[in-house]
Symmetry: C2
Subunit: 365 residues, 2 copies
């Protein structure tokens, strides 16, 4: 059994709207449904990805959009919620429990999830930027990475976001010095090294091989793997050098797809902070440990052409889904002004909480 | 691929303890792990079922109990959370993504989920007992069911709970007239027609056929199906006669297991209110529509020997898991003072929100 992605939708990421969490998801689903040959009655699974605390959201949304699926649930896995939902949808189809599973992820700006209150090991340094700044300081000290390297990642992603109308920072046209000279948030990370939590919704449709024949350009899931190393920063800091969950999940996904990092043409990496994109170059295996800054100058794959979390904003439950949407659109040749030529293989990298968990998805057309 | 249940654990259901939501789940998992031949390193999946709003609970719990699973997430599906998690665990094993998935469900008494705030169609009549009382009035009017019939369901379940040390109403020894003469809550439902929301935790371990060979008495999942009809009471009240999601899910599960209702020896039914157990007799197909009250007197299967939600209490995210635990223990012959003799086939029936969703699981030893 092969599992395909056939359709996707992303709603504009913004600061806040008057619509409820269920309404923004429903709008995204209705838009997806109006643009696919898969019929409503054929959709027998719905998985909702959100950090919202509203109960029974998946069934509320299914009623609002007029679905009566065989299976329906909400999942929450902090910043890794979106691809956790996609992995479950993959599993439901692969096991023939469902034939077509709609995954929708969304967040309001006030949804919880920006801070992991449970992790008291961090004391007063309890915001994500605090652990991210430790990763950055370590990389600076050990491998000679510097602020210009990180600023060039932020500059690249913001430049890409200028081409993405759904991005929060669409057409914001940052200059390099505007990014490099921004205020420090937690030394050495500055304002535009950090992503911006915002509102947003994204949906994606996974179907069985049989249903995929109805679609002109299906995209195939060739590898999908997750790894979990706990929840606290303490749990993963045996080494500040690497994100272990990313290394394990990537190795597993490459093994499933029977390819290696050099075969990746395009990737969406989880740049909640610029240092995380740089470390992902290394931990996924595009370059050796410590050589991340070289990859910025001579990349072997197009990274975060959507704009990344840095350029798009980060509606937590929607992010992993919109990352996957971007790779899907690119492989389908439907990415419009962002379309990259001659693509065969793409990769999605989605993480949570100091890299305590990672999902990797490898897609091919 | 066949999927087995090998081990289970239930912690005492109680009003409130000093422990956090993550602590009560961890205690249940540690107890399960100390009583199974499946090793910790073999457990590559963790699914947490809860209505708690604490984020990243599955990874928090995995760190607390020392697991680093390949896959981990929390699911929330109101009262149907527990069996939604079990269905996903089944899917992860069936699709060979995981080999051993631990499912843990838990609730503190103040977890949300007792009232679906979103469903404003109910006006001031917004508590679950309000829709349950409409189901009961309809059954009384149409099929001649009466208060004594409902009281005898409550009496039976409380009597069974006297044998279940984990039940909230363990050894409470209700008399029939104490139940029948209790205060009205919403006419015609009285105090002991309703379950009691409480704290509790339950865990269950699902494994692949290969790992199941390490276990003396595995129990096999022969059928597992869910159906969803929306979220609001309005969505399912085209008829007050029946719970449509239960009818569809049961039909599907029986088809998978290639058996019929007359083959069920023992069942755990979702008696959030007595009327729901009575309607489940009919909608699962033990008897024809309207004949529920006959089934009370001459049951073809042992129903809710655990004590049901009525006798055990209802820790929302744990309920579906503890229902499945009971059938597992009974089929393993490990149910101690509650053990029923000569069992082959058991059924679990778990619902949410006015019966808008139902999961049915059929187990055999």
């Amino acid at each position: 059994m092969r599992v395909a992605i056939t359709s996707s939708d992303t709603q504009k990421f913004l600061k806040n709207s008057v619509f409820t969490i269920a309404e923004i998801a429903s709008r995204s689903i209705i838009n997806l449904l109006s643009n696919t040959r898969i019929e409503k009655y054929e959709i027998d699974g719905l998985i909702v990805s959100s950090n919202s605390t509203e109960p029974y959201l998946s069934n509320i949304i299914s009623e609002m959009v007029g679905l009566t699926p065989r299976f329906s649930t909400k999942v929450e896995n902090l910043c890794n919620s979106g691809t956790s939902a996609i992995l479950l949808a993959y599993s439901l189809i692969y096991s023939r429990i469902c034939k077509a599973v709609l995954v929708t992820g969304m967040e309001k700006r006030d949804s919880p999830g920006n801070k992991l209150v449970w992790d008291i090991t961090r004391g007063l340094f309890d915001m994500p930027v605090h652990w991210a700044s430790l990763f950055a300081s370590n990389h600076f000290r050990k491998y000679g990475t510097n602020m210009e390297d990180l600023a060039s990642i932020s500059f690249k992603n913001h430049k890409y976001a200028n081409n993405n109308p759904n991005a929060f920072f669409f057409e914001r046209n940052f200059t390099f010095s505007e990014i490099l000279d921004a205020d420090l948030v937690s030394d050495p990370l500055k304002k535009y090294d950090c992503c911006y939590p915002c509102e947003g919704a994204a949906s994606i449709l996974l179907v069985s091989e049989e249903l995929a024949t109805k679609i002109e350009v299906p995209v195939w899931i060739k590898g999908i793997a997750q790894n979990n190393q706990g929840a606290s920063f303490a749990a993963i800091t045996t080494s500040l050098d690497r994100i272990l969950s990313t290394r394990i999940a990537a190795r597993e996904a490459f093994k499933q797809a029977e390819i290696s990092p050099c075969n990746i043409d395009i990737a969406e990496l989880h740049d909640a902070f610029t240092i995380l994109e740089l470390m992902a170059y290394e931990d996924i295996g595009f370059v050796n440990k410590g050589a991340g800054k070289m990859f910025i100058k001579e990349p072997s794959a197009i990274i975060n052409v959507r704009g990344g979390l840095i350029g798009c904003g980060h509606p937590i439950g929607a992010t992993g889904i919109d990352q996957t949407n971007e790779i899907t659109l690119q492989l389908q040749g439907l990415a419009k002004q962002r379309q990259v030529e001659k693509l065969t293989t793409g990769l999605v990298h989605n993480m949570a909480a100091a890299g305590t968990s990672t999902t990797i998805i490898i897609l091919q057309n």
